[in-house]
């Protein structure tokens, strides 16, 4: 009985305090859209950062004068190293072609002989692309037979690493600010909604309703508001993301899992925000309200 009463009262709250409920649901939706957009931005920034680290963290193995099968074997050996996701063998001819493309006019003077060594380009997992782990990898590869020299752009990687760390910290701080602002906004709006129904709470207390019983309809109402706000904001952010992908296809995430995850994530966050906001507001209100 208590549960059905709470559900009925929670639903009736939508009818009885329309404007207060609309205001708090809209506030929650705006807060969740902000969180969703920030999360999306952070996710895409992380992908760009990974790509950047992967590109800067490429390791080049310059080979001595070797036959193709030997180069192939070395390439496979490199591919089997921990953290390596891809290797690419660049023959002397290929190196010369790249040189010609990048050097442009005037490169003909070097064409008499193949002066560039063959090499293997090693791409590592972004998580592995740190100066320390790459230095260890380079040291290990340098000891291989038929390898002349192993290099990677350590100063640039250090620089990128430092800047990314700074950006991540700034992003985290901004994320905490956005989240706190959202919680503050939602909690205060819910508090106003509950304040608007102080007579109801006072009467419930007066006739002997227990505190958990008084809370239940408000919690249910908060959760329902969270569901509506979560779904609305999830669909809005997903729609915005799809619009963005239409203009910038490189932002698309393979597998198409991002949209559903956004909706489910924001729905969950909405439920949590609605529940927490209502719980905190109503608990405080029940404690402080005088019956007289």
């Amino acid at each position: 009985m208590a549960l059905s009463y709470s559900l009925r009262e929670g639903l009736a709250g939508f009818r009885r305090a329309k404007f207060a409920v609309i205001a708090s649901t809209m506030t929650m939706t705006v807060a969740l859209v902000l969180i969703g957009l920030f999360g999306l931005l952070n996710f895409e920034a992380q992908r760009v950062a990974d790509l950047l680290r992967q590109r800067v963290g490429e390791v080049e193995l310059f080979l001595q004068d070797v036959e193709d099968p030997v180069a192939e074997a070395l390439s496979q050996r490199a591919a089997a190293m921990p953290g390596v996701i891809e290797t690419e063998y660049i023959s002397r001819e290929e190196a010369q072609r790249i040189f010609r493309e990048e050097f442009g006019e005037g490169a003909e003077v070097f064409f008499d002989e193949l002066f560039l060594p063959a090499s293997i380009r090693v791409r590592v997992d972004p998580d592995y692309a740190t100066p320390d782990s790459l230095a260890r990898m380079v040291e290990q590869m340098s000891r291989w037979n038929r390898v002349d020299e192993v290099v990677f752009n350590q100063p640039l990687l250090v620089k990128v690493q430092e800047n990314l760390r700074l950006l991540t910290l700034a992003g985290l701080a901004l994320g905490v600010v956005v989240l706190l602002a959202a919680i503050f906004l939602v909690a205060n709006t819910i508090r106003l909604t509950i304040y608007a129904r102080r007579l109801l709470i006072r009467t419930m207390k007066l006739v002997g309703a227990t505190d958990p019983f008084i809370r239940q309809p408000f919690l249910f109402e908060g959760i329902l508001q969270g569901v509506i706000a979560g779904l609305t904001s999830g669909l809005a952010v997903w729609g915005l993301y799809r619009l963005l992908v239409r203009y910038y296809p490189e932002l698309a995430v393979p597998g198409g899992w991002l949209g559903p995850v956004l909706v489910v994530g924001l729905l969950g966050m909405g439920v949590l925000l609605g529940w927490l906001g209502s719980y905190a507001a109503v608990r405080r209100f029940i404690k402080s309200i005088s019956l007289h």
Partner: protein, 227 residues
Amino acid sequence: MIEFRNVSVSYPLPGRARRAVLENLSLRIDRGEMVYLTGPTGSGKSTLLRMIYMDLLPEEGVVQVGDYRSDMIKSSDIPYLRRSLGVVFQDFQLLPDRSVYENVAFTLYVTGKSGAEVKSRVLGALARVGLSHKQKRYPHELSGGEQQRVAIARAIVNEPWILLADEPTGNLDPAVAEEILKLLIGLHRQGMTLLMATHDYRLVRTYPMRTLAFMSGQLVEVDPRTL
């Protein structure tokens, strides 16, 4: 029985000062009694009632209402104490968005009752206050006297043994005030303990009962006919 033993309570004033409202008060009201509580505004009548339904606990001394003692009660038990008493206020405190029936049934729903029991008890309470025919009306469609009757029905629907009435006639014209008092006296005659705060001395003189008056900060027993 309601008993106050050496009870003191004060309210904070701006700064650190406090104003004593009740000092070393002792009082006993037996089950089935009817008592008027009189005195000027701010003398402590409402404070005394609040201590009975334990919205306010004494700083010193003990208030005992039935089996509940203010010095031993857990906050989670206070709702159960309140189910054993009914309270009526001067400003009715009805829920404006619910009908007369729903306002009265609300008391039963929030204490876990349901179904046919609610219906029969609500209709019974409305019949006792003479408002069966207005059960579908909303508070704003009723006169002040009718709203107070709804408030009384809400207070008695749980069949409490005490009814506390805090200036129940304060907002009503004299004729309606007298009707409400008659209704309350009728409930008392059916066995309910009734404690009514009022400063309407005319009513007290017309329907004399045991009367306690706040005078110079002290609660004294007075002859209602001398008021």
